[in-house]
Symmetry: C2
Subunit: 317 residues, 2 copies
Protein backbone atom coordinates (compact mmCIF):
# COMPACT_ATOMS: atom_id res chain seq x y z
CA UNK A 1 0.00 0.00 0.00
CA UNK A 2 1.65 3.18 -1.17
CA UNK A 3 1.24 6.30 0.91
CA UNK A 4 -0.51 9.39 -0.36
CA UNK A 5 2.86 11.08 -0.48
CA UNK A 6 4.44 8.38 -2.65
CA UNK A 7 1.40 8.39 -4.86
CA UNK A 8 1.61 12.15 -5.41
CA UNK A 9 5.38 12.06 -5.88
CA UNK A 10 4.92 9.40 -8.50
CA UNK A 11 2.37 11.51 -10.35
CA UNK A 12 4.60 14.58 -10.21
CA UNK A 13 7.62 12.75 -11.53
CA UNK A 14 5.79 10.91 -14.24
CA UNK A 15 3.85 13.87 -15.59
CA UNK A 16 6.50 16.52 -14.98
CA UNK A 17 4.03 18.61 -13.02
CA UNK A 18 6.76 21.06 -12.22
CA UNK A 19 4.44 23.72 -10.95
CA UNK A 20 2.84 21.29 -8.54
CA UNK A 21 4.55 21.00 -5.17
CA UNK A 22 4.29 24.48 -3.73
CA UNK A 23 1.20 25.56 -1.86
CA UNK A 24 -0.20 26.98 -5.09
CA UNK A 25 0.50 26.91 -8.80
CA UNK A 26 1.86 30.25 -10.04
CA UNK A 27 0.56 31.45 -13.40
CA UNK A 28 1.13 34.68 -15.33
CA UNK A 29 -1.88 37.00 -15.14
CA UNK A 30 -0.83 40.32 -16.64
CA UNK A 31 2.35 42.38 -16.91
CA UNK A 32 2.35 43.20 -13.19
CA UNK A 33 0.55 40.32 -11.56
CA UNK A 34 0.77 36.56 -11.13
CA UNK A 35 -2.22 34.38 -10.38
CA UNK A 36 -1.76 31.72 -7.70
CA UNK A 37 -4.26 28.86 -7.61
CA UNK A 38 -4.87 26.02 -5.18
CA UNK A 39 -7.33 23.13 -4.91
CA UNK A 40 -8.10 21.23 -1.71
CA UNK A 41 -10.25 18.15 -1.58
CA UNK A 42 -11.92 17.20 1.69
CA UNK A 43 -13.58 13.79 1.94
CA UNK A 44 -16.04 12.71 4.62
CA UNK A 45 -14.63 10.14 7.06
CA UNK A 46 -11.10 10.86 5.80
CA UNK A 47 -10.74 14.59 6.44
CA UNK A 48 -13.81 15.21 8.59
CA UNK A 49 -16.78 13.48 10.18
CA UNK A 50 -20.25 14.98 9.86
CA UNK A 51 -21.07 13.88 13.43
CA UNK A 52 -18.07 15.77 14.81
CA UNK A 53 -18.71 19.10 13.14
CA UNK A 54 -21.50 21.34 11.89
CA UNK A 55 -22.25 22.40 8.35
CA UNK A 56 -21.18 25.93 9.18
CA UNK A 57 -17.85 24.90 10.69
CA UNK A 58 -17.13 22.59 7.77
CA UNK A 59 -17.91 25.28 5.19
CA UNK A 60 -15.56 27.64 6.97
CA UNK A 61 -12.83 25.01 7.12
CA UNK A 62 -13.18 24.08 3.44
CA UNK A 63 -12.42 27.65 2.44
CA UNK A 64 -9.87 28.30 5.21
CA UNK A 65 -7.67 25.43 4.05
CA UNK A 66 -7.39 26.99 0.58
CA UNK A 67 -7.04 30.57 1.88
CA UNK A 68 -4.14 29.35 3.97
CA UNK A 69 -2.39 28.12 0.82
CA UNK A 70 -2.92 31.52 -0.79
CA UNK A 71 -1.51 33.25 2.31
CA UNK A 72 1.52 30.97 2.22
CA UNK A 73 2.35 32.32 -1.26
CA UNK A 74 2.22 35.87 0.10
CA UNK A 75 -0.79 36.52 -2.13
CA UNK A 76 -4.18 38.18 -1.69
CA UNK A 77 -7.16 35.90 -2.33
CA UNK A 78 -9.52 36.97 -5.13
CA UNK A 79 -12.00 34.31 -6.20
CA UNK A 80 -13.12 30.80 -5.33
CA UNK A 81 -14.89 27.87 -6.94
CA UNK A 82 -16.59 25.21 -4.88
CA UNK A 83 -17.43 21.70 -6.06
CA UNK A 84 -19.40 19.43 -3.77
CA UNK A 85 -20.87 15.94 -3.96
CA UNK A 86 -23.75 15.57 -1.51
CA UNK A 87 -25.20 12.21 -0.38
CA UNK A 88 -28.97 11.77 -0.25
CA UNK A 89 -29.08 11.59 3.52
CA UNK A 90 -27.92 15.22 3.72
CA UNK A 91 -29.95 16.55 0.82
CA UNK A 92 -33.02 17.54 2.80
CA UNK A 93 -31.21 18.48 5.99
CA UNK A 94 -29.86 21.91 6.89
CA UNK A 95 -26.31 20.62 6.49
CA UNK A 96 -25.68 21.75 2.88
CA UNK A 97 -27.26 25.14 3.51
CA UNK A 98 -25.20 25.64 6.65
CA UNK A 99 -22.13 24.46 4.79
CA UNK A 100 -22.66 27.15 2.17
CA UNK A 101 -23.37 29.71 4.85
CA UNK A 102 -20.05 28.93 6.51
CA UNK A 103 -18.16 29.00 3.23
CA UNK A 104 -19.89 32.18 2.11
CA UNK A 105 -19.45 33.99 5.39
CA UNK A 106 -15.69 33.40 5.40
CA UNK A 107 -15.48 34.37 1.72
CA UNK A 108 -17.08 37.71 2.56
CA UNK A 109 -14.70 38.26 5.43
CA UNK A 110 -11.66 37.62 3.21
CA UNK A 111 -13.14 39.47 0.22
CA UNK A 112 -13.19 36.38 -1.98
CA UNK A 113 -15.81 36.19 -4.70
CA UNK A 114 -17.39 32.76 -5.25
CA UNK A 115 -17.56 32.54 -9.03
CA UNK A 116 -18.67 29.00 -9.73
CA UNK A 117 -18.20 25.34 -9.06
CA UNK A 118 -20.21 22.17 -9.39
CA UNK A 119 -22.81 20.28 -7.41
CA UNK A 120 -23.21 16.53 -7.79
CA UNK A 121 -24.95 13.71 -6.02
CA UNK A 122 -22.83 11.23 -4.06
CA UNK A 123 -23.70 7.63 -3.17
CA UNK A 124 -22.68 8.04 0.49
CA UNK A 125 -19.93 10.49 1.43
CA UNK A 126 -19.90 14.28 1.36
CA UNK A 127 -16.97 15.40 -0.80
CA UNK A 128 -15.72 18.97 -1.20
CA UNK A 129 -13.19 20.47 -3.58
CA UNK A 130 -12.37 24.08 -2.82
CA UNK A 131 -10.45 26.05 -5.43
CA UNK A 132 -9.12 29.49 -4.59
CA UNK A 133 -7.15 31.92 -6.75
CA UNK A 134 -5.16 34.87 -5.48
CA UNK A 135 -2.92 37.57 -6.85
CA UNK A 136 0.64 38.57 -6.11
CA UNK A 137 3.13 40.95 -7.76
CA UNK A 138 4.79 39.27 -10.72
CA UNK A 139 7.69 37.06 -9.72
CA UNK A 140 7.15 37.83 -6.04
CA UNK A 141 5.21 34.79 -4.84
CA UNK A 142 6.73 33.35 -1.66
CA UNK A 143 7.94 29.86 -2.49
CA UNK A 144 9.15 26.94 -0.42
CA UNK A 145 12.44 27.03 -2.23
CA UNK A 146 14.05 30.29 -1.11
CA UNK A 147 15.48 29.42 2.33
CA UNK A 148 19.24 30.06 2.72
CA UNK A 149 21.64 28.77 5.38
CA UNK A 150 21.81 31.40 8.11
CA UNK A 151 18.18 32.52 7.73
CA UNK A 152 16.04 32.55 10.85
CA UNK A 153 13.03 30.21 11.03
CA UNK A 154 9.75 31.65 12.30
CA UNK A 155 6.12 30.68 12.86
CA UNK A 156 3.21 33.12 12.91
CA UNK A 157 1.45 31.74 15.98
CA UNK A 158 1.31 29.04 18.64
CA UNK A 159 1.05 25.42 17.54
CA UNK A 160 -0.69 22.20 18.50
CA UNK A 161 -4.16 23.63 19.10
CA UNK A 162 -5.80 21.92 16.13
CA UNK A 163 -4.22 18.57 16.94
CA UNK A 164 -5.36 18.93 20.56
CA UNK A 165 -8.89 19.63 19.30
CA UNK A 166 -8.73 16.52 17.14
CA UNK A 167 -7.59 14.43 20.10
CA UNK A 168 -10.56 15.73 22.11
CA UNK A 169 -12.96 14.79 19.30
CA UNK A 170 -11.40 11.35 19.03
CA UNK A 171 -12.05 10.64 22.66
CA UNK A 172 -15.69 11.70 22.37
CA UNK A 173 -15.84 15.42 23.16
CA UNK A 174 -18.18 17.42 20.92
CA UNK A 175 -18.43 21.15 20.41
CA UNK A 176 -21.20 22.97 22.24
CA UNK A 177 -21.63 26.60 23.19
CA UNK A 178 -21.81 25.64 26.88
CA UNK A 179 -18.28 24.22 27.02
CA UNK A 180 -15.58 26.12 28.91
CA UNK A 181 -13.75 28.63 26.75
CA UNK A 182 -10.47 26.76 26.45
CA UNK A 183 -12.24 23.63 25.18
CA UNK A 184 -14.18 25.63 22.62
CA UNK A 185 -10.98 27.30 21.47
CA UNK A 186 -9.20 23.99 20.85
CA UNK A 187 -12.20 22.36 19.17
CA UNK A 188 -12.66 25.39 16.91
CA UNK A 189 -8.98 25.32 15.97
CA UNK A 190 -9.70 21.86 14.55
CA UNK A 191 -13.24 22.32 13.25
CA UNK A 192 -13.34 25.91 12.02
CA UNK A 193 -9.80 27.24 11.64
CA UNK A 194 -9.10 30.76 10.47
CA UNK A 195 -6.35 31.17 7.89
CA UNK A 196 -3.53 33.56 8.62
CA UNK A 197 -3.99 37.00 7.13
CA UNK A 198 -0.29 37.80 7.43
CA UNK A 199 0.94 36.12 4.26
CA UNK A 200 1.11 39.22 2.07
CA UNK A 201 2.74 41.22 4.89
CA UNK A 202 5.39 38.55 5.40
CA UNK A 203 6.17 38.49 1.70
CA UNK A 204 6.61 42.28 1.73
CA UNK A 205 8.82 41.99 4.81
CA UNK A 206 11.05 39.71 2.76
CA UNK A 207 10.37 36.15 3.88
CA UNK A 208 12.83 34.01 1.90
CA UNK A 209 10.55 30.96 1.95
CA UNK A 210 7.08 30.27 3.28
CA UNK A 211 4.58 27.41 3.73
CA UNK A 212 1.39 27.02 5.71
CA UNK A 213 1.34 24.54 8.58
CA UNK A 214 -1.15 21.97 7.37
CA UNK A 215 0.78 18.72 7.77
CA UNK A 216 2.60 19.76 10.96
CA UNK A 217 5.77 21.66 11.78
CA UNK A 218 8.15 18.70 11.37
CA UNK A 219 6.69 17.72 7.96
CA UNK A 220 6.19 21.22 6.60
CA UNK A 221 9.68 22.30 7.60
CA UNK A 222 10.95 19.21 5.79
CA UNK A 223 9.12 20.43 2.66
CA UNK A 224 10.93 23.79 2.89
CA UNK A 225 14.30 22.08 3.47
CA UNK A 226 13.73 19.75 0.57
CA UNK A 227 12.60 22.49 -1.84
CA UNK A 228 15.38 24.86 -0.75
CA UNK A 229 18.22 22.33 -0.52
CA UNK A 230 18.93 23.25 3.10
CA UNK A 231 18.60 21.85 6.61
CA UNK A 232 17.25 23.29 9.84
CA UNK A 233 18.06 23.46 13.52
CA UNK A 234 15.09 23.95 15.81
CA UNK A 235 15.27 25.04 19.44
CA UNK A 236 12.68 22.97 21.33
CA UNK A 237 12.32 25.66 23.96
CA UNK A 238 11.36 28.28 21.38
CA UNK A 239 8.53 26.36 19.73
CA UNK A 240 5.34 28.10 20.89
CA UNK A 241 2.71 25.70 22.25
CA UNK A 242 -0.93 26.79 22.15
CA UNK A 243 -1.60 27.78 25.76
CA UNK A 244 -5.13 26.34 25.95
CA UNK A 245 -3.49 22.91 25.68
CA UNK A 246 -2.61 23.36 29.36
CA UNK A 247 -6.27 22.57 30.11
CA UNK A 248 -5.69 19.00 28.92
CA UNK A 249 -4.00 16.62 31.27
CA UNK A 250 -0.87 16.06 29.23
CA UNK A 251 2.81 15.55 29.98
CA UNK A 252 5.13 18.22 28.67
CA UNK A 253 6.41 15.69 26.15
CA UNK A 254 2.88 15.09 24.86
CA UNK A 255 2.21 18.81 24.58
CA UNK A 256 5.44 19.34 22.69
CA UNK A 257 4.58 16.48 20.36
CA UNK A 258 1.26 18.15 19.45
CA UNK A 259 3.11 21.36 18.56
CA UNK A 260 5.89 19.63 16.61
CA UNK A 261 3.93 16.98 14.75
CA UNK A 262 0.26 17.98 14.98
CA UNK A 263 -1.29 19.24 11.76
CA UNK A 264 -3.82 21.80 10.59
CA UNK A 265 -2.81 24.78 12.69
CA UNK A 266 -2.79 26.85 9.48
CA UNK A 267 -0.18 29.19 10.90
CA UNK A 268 2.59 30.28 8.55
CA UNK A 269 6.10 28.86 8.73
CA UNK A 270 8.70 31.09 7.09
CA UNK A 271 12.38 31.85 6.86
CA UNK A 272 13.99 35.26 6.67
CA UNK A 273 17.43 36.77 6.22
CA UNK A 274 17.65 38.71 9.48
CA UNK A 275 20.42 40.96 8.19
CA UNK A 276 17.96 42.53 5.79
CA UNK A 277 15.17 43.31 8.19
CA UNK A 278 14.77 45.19 11.46
CA UNK A 279 14.13 42.81 14.38
CA UNK A 280 11.22 45.01 15.46
CA UNK A 281 9.23 44.02 12.41
CA UNK A 282 9.54 40.38 13.32
CA UNK A 283 8.58 41.01 16.93
CA UNK A 284 5.12 39.55 16.72
CA UNK A 285 6.35 36.27 15.21
CA UNK A 286 8.01 33.35 16.96
CA UNK A 287 11.64 32.62 16.13
CA UNK A 288 12.10 28.85 16.46
CA UNK A 289 15.46 28.10 14.85
CA UNK A 290 17.97 28.55 12.06
CA UNK A 291 18.39 27.33 8.51
CA UNK A 292 21.55 25.23 8.09
CA UNK A 293 23.52 23.86 5.17
CA UNK A 294 22.88 20.21 6.14
CA UNK A 295 20.56 19.34 3.31
CA UNK A 296 17.30 17.68 4.46
CA UNK A 297 18.55 17.26 8.05
CA UNK A 298 16.35 18.75 10.76
CA UNK A 299 18.04 18.94 14.14
CA UNK A 300 16.13 19.54 17.34
CA UNK A 301 18.08 21.07 20.22
CA UNK A 302 16.66 20.71 23.70
CA UNK A 303 19.12 22.24 26.14
CA UNK A 304 22.21 20.14 25.53
CA UNK A 305 20.44 17.25 23.80
CA UNK A 306 20.48 17.12 20.02
CA UNK A 307 18.11 14.91 18.11
CA UNK A 308 17.66 14.36 14.36
CA UNK A 309 13.97 14.61 13.47
CA UNK A 310 12.13 12.15 11.32
CA UNK A 311 9.14 13.87 9.77
CA UNK A 312 5.98 12.32 11.13
CA UNK A 313 3.40 14.91 10.33
CA UNK A 314 -0.28 14.65 10.27
CA UNK A 315 -1.83 11.91 8.13
CA UNK A 316 -5.48 12.82 8.76
CA UNK A 317 -7.63 10.65 10.96
Amino acid sequence: MRSEFDFIQNIKTKYALTRVGDDCAVLPKDSRTDLVVTADMLVEDIDFRCGWTTGKFLGQKALAVSLSDIAAMGAEPRWAMLSIAVPKRLWDTDFPKEFFDGYYRLSTKYKVEIVGGDVSRSPDKFVIDSIVAGEVFKGKAALRSGAKPGDGIYVSGPLGGAAAGLAMLERGERYSASLPGWKKTLLLKQLAPLPSSLGAELRKLGASSMIDLSDGLSSDLAHICNASGVGARLDANLIPIHREIDGLNLTSHEKFDLALNGGEDFELLFTVDEKKISPKKLGKFFRIGDVTANIDIIELIDGKRLQILQPKGYRHF
Copy 2:
Protein backbone atom coordinates in the same frame (compact mmCIF):
# COMPACT_ATOMS: atom_id res chain seq x y z
CA MET B 1 -36.24 15.16 -2.08
CA ARG B 2 -35.11 18.19 -3.99
CA SER B 3 -33.54 17.68 -7.41
CA GLU B 4 -29.94 18.63 -8.13
CA PHE B 5 -31.31 21.45 -10.25
CA ASP B 6 -33.46 22.89 -7.44
CA PHE B 7 -30.56 22.54 -5.06
CA ILE B 8 -28.22 24.48 -7.34
CA GLN B 9 -30.87 27.09 -8.13
CA ASN B 10 -31.39 27.58 -4.43
CA ILE B 11 -27.66 28.10 -3.88
CA LYS B 12 -27.43 30.54 -6.76
CA THR B 13 -30.33 32.63 -5.55
CA LYS B 14 -29.30 32.66 -1.95
CA TYR B 15 -25.66 33.50 -2.51
CA ALA B 16 -26.13 35.72 -5.53
CA LEU B 17 -23.65 33.64 -7.49
CA THR B 18 -24.35 35.74 -10.53
CA ARG B 19 -21.42 34.46 -12.47
CA VAL B 20 -22.50 30.88 -11.91
CA GLY B 21 -24.92 29.52 -14.47
CA ASP B 22 -23.03 29.78 -17.72
CA ASP B 23 -20.69 27.00 -18.76
CA CYS B 24 -17.80 28.91 -17.17
CA ALA B 25 -17.22 31.85 -14.88
CA VAL B 26 -15.75 34.83 -16.76
CA LEU B 27 -13.04 36.79 -14.95
CA PRO B 28 -10.87 39.69 -16.07
CA LYS B 29 -7.30 38.58 -16.84
CA ASP B 30 -5.55 41.53 -18.46
CA SER B 31 -6.50 44.49 -20.63
CA ARG B 32 -7.12 42.28 -23.66
CA THR B 33 -8.12 38.93 -22.22
CA ASP B 34 -10.73 37.34 -20.01
CA LEU B 35 -10.15 34.11 -18.11
CA VAL B 36 -12.95 31.54 -18.21
CA VAL B 37 -12.95 28.83 -15.55
CA THR B 38 -15.00 25.69 -15.03
CA ALA B 39 -15.10 22.87 -12.48
CA ASP B 40 -16.70 19.47 -13.07
CA MET B 41 -17.09 16.87 -10.40
CA LEU B 42 -17.48 13.22 -11.40
CA VAL B 43 -18.47 10.71 -8.72
CA GLU B 44 -18.18 6.94 -9.01
CA ASP B 45 -21.54 5.15 -9.31
CA ILE B 46 -23.25 8.47 -10.03
CA ASP B 47 -21.41 9.70 -13.10
CA PHE B 48 -19.46 6.58 -14.03
CA ARG B 49 -18.87 2.98 -13.00
CA CYS B 50 -15.33 1.64 -12.76
CA GLY B 51 -16.50 -1.73 -14.11
CA TRP B 52 -17.92 -0.11 -17.23
CA THR B 53 -14.89 1.92 -18.21
CA THR B 54 -11.10 1.92 -18.07
CA GLY B 55 -8.82 4.30 -16.21
CA LYS B 56 -7.66 5.74 -19.50
CA PHE B 57 -11.17 6.37 -20.81
CA LEU B 58 -12.24 7.92 -17.51
CA GLY B 59 -9.22 10.24 -17.42
CA GLN B 60 -10.00 11.40 -20.92
CA LYS B 61 -13.65 11.96 -20.06
CA ALA B 62 -12.84 13.91 -16.88
CA LEU B 63 -10.87 16.44 -18.89
CA ALA B 64 -13.17 16.37 -21.95
CA VAL B 65 -16.17 17.42 -19.87
CA SER B 66 -14.35 20.57 -18.75
CA LEU B 67 -12.79 21.28 -22.15
CA SER B 68 -16.29 21.17 -23.59
CA ASP B 69 -17.34 23.95 -21.19
CA ILE B 70 -14.36 26.03 -22.30
CA ALA B 71 -15.25 25.44 -25.95
CA ALA B 72 -18.83 26.52 -25.24
CA MET B 73 -17.52 29.92 -24.13
CA GLY B 74 -15.65 30.27 -27.42
CA ALA B 75 -12.40 30.20 -25.47
CA GLU B 76 -9.05 28.44 -25.87
CA PRO B 77 -8.11 26.15 -22.98
CA ARG B 78 -4.88 27.01 -21.13
CA TRP B 79 -4.41 25.17 -17.85
CA ALA B 80 -6.04 22.53 -15.67
CA MET B 81 -6.08 21.41 -12.06
CA LEU B 82 -7.12 17.91 -11.09
CA SER B 83 -8.34 16.85 -7.65
CA ILE B 84 -9.01 13.19 -7.02
CA ALA B 85 -10.06 11.07 -4.05
CA VAL B 86 -8.95 7.46 -4.54
CA PRO B 87 -10.33 4.52 -2.56
CA LYS B 88 -7.93 1.91 -1.18
CA ARG B 89 -9.11 -0.82 -3.53
CA LEU B 90 -7.74 1.18 -6.49
CA TRP B 91 -4.56 2.41 -4.87
CA ASP B 92 -2.35 -0.45 -5.92
CA THR B 93 -4.04 -1.16 -9.22
CA ASP B 94 -3.18 0.37 -12.58
CA PHE B 95 -6.41 2.34 -12.53
CA PRO B 96 -5.08 5.65 -11.11
CA LYS B 97 -2.02 5.53 -13.36
CA GLU B 98 -4.16 4.87 -16.40
CA PHE B 99 -6.56 7.58 -15.30
CA PHE B 100 -3.69 10.09 -15.24
CA ASP B 101 -2.42 8.80 -18.57
CA GLY B 102 -5.82 9.42 -20.12
CA TYR B 103 -6.13 12.87 -18.59
CA TYR B 104 -2.57 13.78 -19.49
CA ARG B 105 -2.80 12.51 -23.04
CA LEU B 106 -5.87 14.60 -23.79
CA SER B 107 -4.29 17.63 -22.08
CA THR B 108 -1.32 17.36 -24.42
CA LYS B 109 -3.58 17.07 -27.44
CA TYR B 110 -5.50 20.21 -26.46
CA LYS B 111 -2.37 22.09 -25.29
CA VAL B 112 -3.56 22.34 -21.69
CA GLU B 113 -0.95 22.51 -18.95
CA ILE B 114 -1.75 20.58 -15.79
CA VAL B 115 -0.62 22.98 -13.06
CA GLY B 116 -1.79 21.41 -9.83
CA GLY B 117 -4.60 19.84 -7.91
CA ASP B 118 -5.02 17.59 -4.91
CA VAL B 119 -4.90 13.89 -4.15
CA SER B 120 -6.82 12.46 -1.20
CA ARG B 121 -7.86 9.08 0.08
CA SER B 122 -11.52 8.10 -0.17
CA PRO B 123 -13.41 5.57 1.96
CA ASP B 124 -15.00 3.86 -1.04
CA LYS B 125 -15.75 5.86 -4.18
CA PHE B 126 -13.42 7.39 -6.74
CA VAL B 127 -14.19 11.11 -6.98
CA ILE B 128 -12.77 13.53 -9.54
CA ASP B 129 -12.93 17.31 -9.75
CA SER B 130 -11.51 18.69 -12.97
CA ILE B 131 -10.89 22.43 -13.19
CA VAL B 132 -9.96 24.01 -16.50
CA ALA B 133 -9.23 27.63 -17.33
CA GLY B 134 -9.23 29.13 -20.80
CA GLU B 135 -8.74 32.51 -22.41
CA VAL B 136 -10.93 34.60 -24.67
CA PHE B 137 -10.76 38.19 -25.96
CA LYS B 138 -12.08 40.58 -23.36
CA GLY B 139 -15.86 40.82 -23.39
CA LYS B 140 -16.13 38.29 -26.20
CA ALA B 141 -16.97 35.09 -24.32
CA ALA B 142 -19.94 33.32 -25.89
CA LEU B 143 -22.73 33.29 -23.33
CA ARG B 144 -26.03 31.51 -23.06
CA SER B 145 -27.81 34.82 -22.91
CA GLY B 146 -27.31 36.31 -26.38
CA ALA B 147 -29.91 34.49 -28.50
CA LYS B 148 -32.38 36.81 -30.33
CA PRO B 149 -35.73 35.98 -31.95
CA GLY B 150 -35.07 35.23 -35.61
CA ASP B 151 -31.63 33.68 -35.01
CA GLY B 152 -31.04 30.23 -36.43
CA ILE B 153 -30.35 27.34 -34.04
CA TYR B 154 -27.48 24.99 -34.89
CA VAL B 155 -25.62 21.98 -33.49
CA SER B 156 -22.02 21.09 -34.29
CA GLY B 157 -22.54 17.37 -34.86
CA PRO B 158 -24.93 14.42 -34.75
CA LEU B 159 -26.64 13.62 -31.45
CA GLY B 160 -27.65 10.64 -29.34
CA GLY B 161 -24.44 8.65 -29.67
CA ALA B 162 -23.40 8.99 -26.03
CA ALA B 163 -26.88 8.11 -24.77
CA ALA B 164 -26.93 5.07 -27.05
CA GLY B 165 -23.55 4.02 -25.63
CA LEU B 166 -24.94 4.38 -22.12
CA ALA B 167 -27.97 2.26 -23.01
CA MET B 168 -25.62 -0.44 -24.33
CA LEU B 169 -23.61 -0.38 -21.09
CA GLU B 170 -26.79 -0.55 -19.03
CA ARG B 171 -27.84 -3.71 -20.75
CA GLY B 172 -24.46 -5.35 -20.18
CA GLU B 173 -22.31 -4.56 -23.20
CA ARG B 174 -18.68 -3.70 -22.39
CA TYR B 175 -16.03 -2.06 -24.52
CA SER B 176 -13.47 -4.32 -26.14
CA ALA B 177 -11.21 -3.84 -29.12
CA SER B 178 -12.79 -6.83 -30.86
CA LEU B 179 -16.28 -5.32 -31.05
CA PRO B 180 -17.63 -4.19 -34.42
CA GLY B 181 -16.74 -0.60 -35.27
CA TRP B 182 -20.20 0.90 -34.77
CA LYS B 183 -20.46 -0.53 -31.25
CA LYS B 184 -17.03 0.79 -30.33
CA THR B 185 -17.97 4.20 -31.69
CA LEU B 186 -21.11 4.45 -29.57
CA LEU B 187 -19.43 3.11 -26.40
CA LEU B 188 -16.55 5.54 -26.85
CA LYS B 189 -18.97 8.44 -27.30
CA GLN B 190 -20.14 7.63 -23.77
CA LEU B 191 -16.88 6.50 -22.15
CA ALA B 192 -14.22 8.66 -23.75
CA PRO B 193 -15.84 11.62 -25.50
CA LEU B 194 -13.82 14.22 -27.36
CA PRO B 195 -14.75 17.84 -26.75
CA SER B 196 -15.55 20.01 -29.72
CA SER B 197 -12.63 22.07 -30.96
CA LEU B 198 -14.91 24.46 -32.84
CA GLY B 199 -15.85 26.76 -29.96
CA ALA B 200 -13.39 29.55 -30.69
CA GLU B 201 -14.19 29.40 -34.41
CA LEU B 202 -17.93 29.67 -33.72
CA ARG B 203 -17.38 32.65 -31.48
CA LYS B 204 -15.39 34.37 -34.22
CA LEU B 205 -18.12 33.52 -36.74
CA GLY B 206 -20.50 35.42 -34.50
CA ALA B 207 -22.56 32.86 -32.58
CA SER B 208 -25.05 34.92 -30.55
CA SER B 209 -25.29 32.29 -27.80
CA MET B 210 -23.63 28.95 -27.16
CA ILE B 211 -23.73 26.01 -24.74
CA ASP B 212 -22.28 22.52 -24.81
CA LEU B 213 -24.64 19.58 -25.00
CA SER B 214 -24.05 17.86 -21.68
CA ASP B 215 -27.59 17.55 -20.31
CA GLY B 216 -29.23 16.89 -23.68
CA LEU B 217 -30.61 19.03 -26.49
CA SER B 218 -34.03 19.65 -24.91
CA SER B 219 -32.54 20.69 -21.55
CA ASP B 220 -29.60 22.67 -22.88
CA LEU B 221 -31.76 24.56 -25.35
CA ALA B 222 -34.03 25.39 -22.42
CA HIS B 223 -30.98 26.86 -20.63
CA ILE B 224 -30.29 29.13 -23.63
CA CYS B 225 -33.96 30.16 -23.87
CA ASN B 226 -34.10 30.90 -20.17
CA ALA B 227 -30.85 32.89 -20.11
CA SER B 228 -31.72 34.79 -23.30
CA GLY B 229 -35.41 35.40 -22.57
CA VAL B 230 -36.47 33.74 -25.82
CA GLY B 231 -38.18 30.60 -27.08
CA ALA B 232 -37.31 28.09 -29.79
CA ARG B 233 -38.93 26.15 -32.59
CA LEU B 234 -37.18 22.92 -33.57
CA ASP B 235 -37.75 20.98 -36.76
CA ALA B 236 -37.73 17.30 -35.80
CA ASN B 237 -36.62 16.30 -39.28
CA LEU B 238 -33.52 18.49 -39.08
CA ILE B 239 -32.13 17.11 -35.82
CA PRO B 240 -29.11 15.01 -36.81
CA ILE B 241 -29.11 11.52 -35.27
CA HIS B 242 -25.78 9.76 -34.85
CA ARG B 243 -25.79 7.27 -37.72
CA GLU B 244 -24.17 4.40 -35.76
CA ILE B 245 -27.40 4.27 -33.74
CA ASP B 246 -28.89 2.47 -36.75
CA GLY B 247 -26.97 -0.60 -35.60
CA LEU B 248 -29.21 -0.82 -32.55
CA ASN B 249 -32.64 -2.31 -32.98
CA LEU B 250 -34.63 0.82 -32.20
CA THR B 251 -37.83 2.39 -33.46
CA SER B 252 -37.47 5.76 -35.13
CA HIS B 253 -39.18 7.28 -32.11
CA GLU B 254 -36.59 5.76 -29.77
CA LYS B 255 -33.72 6.97 -31.93
CA PHE B 256 -35.16 10.46 -32.03
CA ASP B 257 -35.59 10.43 -28.27
CA LEU B 258 -31.88 9.64 -27.80
CA ALA B 259 -30.94 12.64 -29.96
CA LEU B 260 -33.43 15.01 -28.36
CA ASN B 261 -33.08 14.04 -24.70
CA GLY B 262 -29.87 12.02 -24.41
CA GLY B 263 -26.97 13.73 -22.67
CA GLU B 264 -23.21 13.95 -22.90
CA ASP B 265 -22.77 14.29 -26.63
CA PHE B 266 -20.51 17.29 -25.94
CA GLU B 267 -21.38 18.84 -29.26
CA LEU B 268 -22.00 22.59 -29.29
CA LEU B 269 -25.46 24.10 -29.51
CA PHE B 270 -25.46 27.69 -30.74
CA THR B 271 -27.59 30.41 -32.22
CA VAL B 272 -26.58 32.85 -34.91
CA ASP B 273 -28.00 35.88 -36.69
CA GLU B 274 -27.96 34.54 -40.26
CA LYS B 275 -28.18 38.02 -41.79
CA LYS B 276 -24.69 38.74 -40.52
CA ILE B 277 -22.91 35.66 -41.79
CA SER B 278 -22.48 33.90 -45.11
CA PRO B 279 -24.36 30.60 -45.22
CA LYS B 280 -21.24 28.90 -46.56
CA LYS B 281 -19.47 29.38 -43.26
CA LEU B 282 -22.24 27.53 -41.49
CA GLY B 283 -22.26 24.72 -44.02
CA LYS B 284 -20.59 22.14 -41.81
CA PHE B 285 -23.06 22.67 -38.95
CA PHE B 286 -26.60 21.39 -38.61
CA ARG B 287 -29.43 23.91 -38.67
CA ILE B 288 -32.19 22.53 -36.44
CA GLY B 289 -34.60 25.42 -35.88
CA ASP B 290 -35.27 29.06 -35.09
CA VAL B 291 -35.25 31.28 -32.05
CA THR B 292 -38.70 32.70 -31.27
CA ALA B 293 -40.08 35.41 -29.01
CA ASN B 294 -42.16 32.92 -26.94
CA ILE B 295 -40.15 33.09 -23.76
CA ASP B 296 -39.18 29.65 -22.41
CA ILE B 297 -41.43 27.81 -24.87
CA ILE B 298 -39.76 25.16 -27.02
CA GLU B 299 -41.90 23.97 -29.90
CA LEU B 300 -41.12 20.83 -31.86
CA ILE B 301 -42.47 20.66 -35.40
CA ASP B 302 -42.74 17.26 -37.04
CA GLY B 303 -44.32 17.70 -40.43
CA LYS B 304 -47.67 19.22 -39.54
CA ARG B 305 -47.64 18.19 -35.86
CA LEU B 306 -46.60 20.76 -33.30
CA GLN B 307 -45.66 19.75 -29.79
CA ILE B 308 -44.53 21.83 -26.79
CA LEU B 309 -41.44 20.24 -25.25
CA GLN B 310 -40.97 19.62 -21.58
CA PRO B 311 -37.26 19.52 -20.85
CA LYS B 312 -36.35 16.02 -19.74
CA GLY B 313 -32.65 15.97 -20.21
CA TYR B 314 -30.12 13.65 -18.84
CA ARG B 315 -30.06 13.10 -15.09
CA HIS B 316 -27.06 10.76 -15.02
CA PHE B 317 -27.53 7.06 -14.38
